[in-house]
């Protein structure tokens, strides 16, 4: 017999975890939707953001919530630079180069991080790191709640940006039909760099947020990347609204499987979901928001 309080607790835990998955996936799927490129280095950039947050905190005492916009701006700029100097060149090359360029980036970033900061596990302990709120018998971890709220706000702001601004419209137009967008006078390369910058900016926010309750190592982004792939496919690759809901669903599935089946198979369960979706509905639950015309 499942206790209602444990069920509710598992649901809340899954939802809080899912918020982070959503944020990581939204960036991944945005880049894919606009540029048709899978960013294997997404988790590595998330890890870099964790380190940025860590060092700002340790060296200069900058609170993670203060360094959140800094992380976004730094990674947005870095994303634009990386897109222009590396990704764009690969996009003009053969298919294999497009596939491997971000994988190469992942290896370079992870190994550079290892060389620079070693493999020591680091954590950030802020005043609320181990703080817990109680709603009756249900407990809610403060850093996870803050991360969840921030992740949802960031996703909503992205939605507003893409739907209510000219630049957002241009990004969506590019994702929908590259050639038509070009003919309409949209600078495709500029849109690409904005999209890549935004993708990294979003994952940097995720990295900053988890740094207050997760551990930081050069490979800390990898498990999130795996989950983000599953989420992105679940929501429909390229569909950022799908990624938002997909993240929450995977978070809840993982939490429920771990709590009521076995913690050892929690990843197995969501990977099974991943494969079932790939086989039965490859376009994802919500399909692609940006119907590609050409």
């Amino acid at each position: 017999m499942v206790e209602p309080s444990i069920l509710a607790q598992a649901l809340i835990n899954g939802l809080l975890l899912g918020g982070i998955y959503s944020l990581v996936s939204v960036g991944l799927t945005l880049i894919y939707g606009v540029m048709d490129i899978v960013n294997f280095a997404h988790g590595a950039f998330m890890m870099l953001s964790m380190y940025l947050t860590f060092w700002l905190f340790v060296l200069f005492g900058v609170h993670p919530l203060i360094s959140l916009p800094i992380a976004f701006i730094v990674f947005f700029a870095a994303g634009m630079a990386v897109q222009r100097t590396i990704i764009q060149r690969a996009l003009e090359g053969p298919m294999a180069a497009q596939m491997l360029v971000t994988f190469g980036l992942l290896l370079i970033i992870e190994n550079s991080a290892l060389f620079s900061w070693s493999a020591l596990v680091r954590t950030i302990s802020v005043d609320y790191s181990n703080l817990t709120f109680f709603l009756g018998s249900i407990s809610i971890s403060a850093p996870r709640l803050i991360a969840f709220i921030a992740a949802i706000i960031a996703s909503l702001l992205l939605h507003l940006f893409l739907t209510k601004t000219d630049l957002g419209l241009a990004i969506r137009a590019t994702a929908q039909n590259r050639e038509a967008a070009r003919l309409a006078g949209i600078n495709i390369k500029f849109i690409y760099s904005i999209a890549f910058g935004l993708g990294l900016g979003l994952v940097a926010i995720a990295g900053n947020l988890v740094a207050t309750f997760y551990y930081i190592t050069p490979s800390a982004g990898t498990p999130f990347l795996l989950a983000a792939f599953v989420v992105a496919v679940l929501g429909g690759l390229g569909n950022y609204v799908g990624a938002l809901f997909g993240g929450l669903i995977i978070g809840i599935v993982e939490s429920m499987a771990g709590t009521f089946l076995l913690p050892a198979i929690r990843q197995l369960v969501y990977l099974a979901v991943f494969y079932i979706i790939l086989v039965t509905k490859p376009e994802g639950l919500l399909g692609k928001t940006f119907e590609r015309k050409a």
């Binding site: 598992a10 290892l114 181990n130 407990s139 990898t222 709590t259 913690p263 929690r266 990843q267």
Partner: protein, 433 residues
């Protein structure tokens, strides 16, 4: 006088050639003689190499890279800070050849093969993780290369009848038996009773062998007999541990027995705090729970956790104190159980090489098999280093290695058991508030 061969129009020239030939022959013979003298001369024969190559297998990347880093720091400390860079009996410099196992058994196997066949190492050292030691030691066995292990704790490693494998640190059964003995003693002394238990372990060779040992000793009516409510396995790279914490909360056992690495230990403990799980007795199989990172992150919330250990800064041994102090000065963090085992194991290897006075694998093996290192030369609280002969049960295991029990109070783990070494009394069970 010239030889009268091919005499003709070139006759005179042929005569000169013979003389030149003779001179060249003499020169070649003299040069060869000098060469042979220097090649086979004292201190340079095949038995007297200029370098001893030690292949060090460690996880330098991946989730377990933190252990590799600690071992690397310890070995560099011994070679650079303590100056053990030469094997005097061979007048040979030590050359360390590092290989990254990435914490993966298949890579450890391939790297061991590379170190032996391509790098031509004379001996192997490593790998902390039991799963990677298992596969790497299998390669060493096949090629007949001695393998010295510092801190892999799976008992299986010395139960495979591998004659080239030597483990300096204690294994899980030695550790875990001590923990059950402690549990029994603590109940008798405090007049409390604990009945139920949940085992939580990381699903790799380290975790699963720890679980096996816990189950085995719990089945021993003398020291065990607790009701096991659940056995929870979890994968090494988890992003969230709330589900584990929730299961613990709903089962509410008296004892939580855990075997975790660093990152997962932090994640689970934080999830336990977030989900308001307050164990009466939390027993941990050192590793992650005793790492400096865990202590720094969890702080006072780790209070009353009881762990097996091999090393403690409390050990009242001048050598331990001195090494720990110098190590901290150089690397900025405290020597832990993994580092301390690596320290004693590497010194054991150096002593064996010194004794073998040869890079011949069989001679190194023999030196290891017959070595005895007295306790005062070690930094761990062991009775020395002496291996069980191969062919016997647990052959290759250091029979003088043993564990201690520590408990966390406020800022660090304190030695609480055995009593003769304790620096403060243990608290059992943990206070409820």
């Amino acid at each position: 006088m010239t030889l009268n061969v091919n005499k003709g129009i070139y006759g005179e020239k042929a005569g000169v050639s013979k003389a030149a030939l003779a001179i060249i022959l003499v020169v070649i013979i003299v040069a060869a003689g000098v060469g042979i003298f220097f090649t086979l001369g004292p201190g340079a024969g095949p038995e007297q190499p200029k370098v001893v190559k030690i292949g060090v297998l460690q996880a330098l990347t991946g989730g377990a890279a933190r252990y590799g880093q600690v071992v690397r720091d310890v070995i560099n400390f011994i070679v650079e800070e303590e100056g053990y860079d030469t094997i005097k009996s061979m007048n040979a410099k030590i050359e360390l050849v590092w290989a990254d196992t990435q914490g993966k058994p298949e890579i450890a196997r391939a790297e061991a093969e590379r170190l032996i066949t391509q790098e031509k190492v004379h001996v192997l050292f490593g790998t902390v993780l039991s799963s990677t030691t298992l596969t790497a030691a299998e390669v060493a066995e096949r090629y007949g290369i001695p393998f010295v292990n510092e801190a892999s704790s799976s008992p299986k490693l010395t139960r495979l009848d591998r004659k080239w494998f030597f483990r300096v640190g204690p294994h899980d059964e030695l550790f875990i038996k001590d923990m059950f003995v402690f549990l029994k003693e603590a109940q008798q002394e405090t007049g409390t009773t604990v009945k139920t238990m949940v085992i939580v372990f990381v699903n790799d060779l380290f975790g699963s062998t720890a679980r096996d040992a816990i189950v085995k000793f719990n089945d021993d009516p003398e020291i065990g007999g607790y009701e096991v409510l659940d056995i929870i396995a979890y994968p090494p790279d988890i992003t969230d541990a709330s589900d584990i914490a929730l299961r613990l909360k709903s089962l509410d056992p008296d004892i939580i027995f855990m075997a975790s690495h660093v990152s997962d230990a932090i994640l689970i403990q934080r999830a336990m705090i977030a989900n308001n799980v307050k164990p009466r007795v939390q027993m941990v199989v050192d590793a992650g729970h005793t790492s400096p990172e865990f202590i720094e992150t969890i702080g006072k919330d780790a209070n009353y956790i009881i762990s097996r250990e091999v090393f403690s800064l409390d050990l009242n041994k001048p050598k331990s104190q001195e090494v720990a102090k110098k190590f901290r000065e150089r690397y900025g963090y405290d020597l832990d159980g993994v580092g301390a085992r690596a320290y004693d194991a590497f010194h054991t290897l150096l002593a064996a090489l010194e004794k073998a006075a040869s890079t011949d694998p069989e001679k190194i093996r023999e030196a290891l098999a017959n070595i005895y290192i007295p306790p005062e030369q070690l930094i761990n609280a062991w009775d020395g280093v002496q291996f069980i002969p191969h062919g016997e049960f647990d052959g290759g295991q250091n029979k003088l290695a043993k564990g201690i029990i520590v408990q966390f109070f406020d800022d660090r783990y304190y030695l609480v058991w055995p009593k003769e070494l304790a620096v403060r009394p243990y608290v059992f069970p943990a206070p409820s508030s």
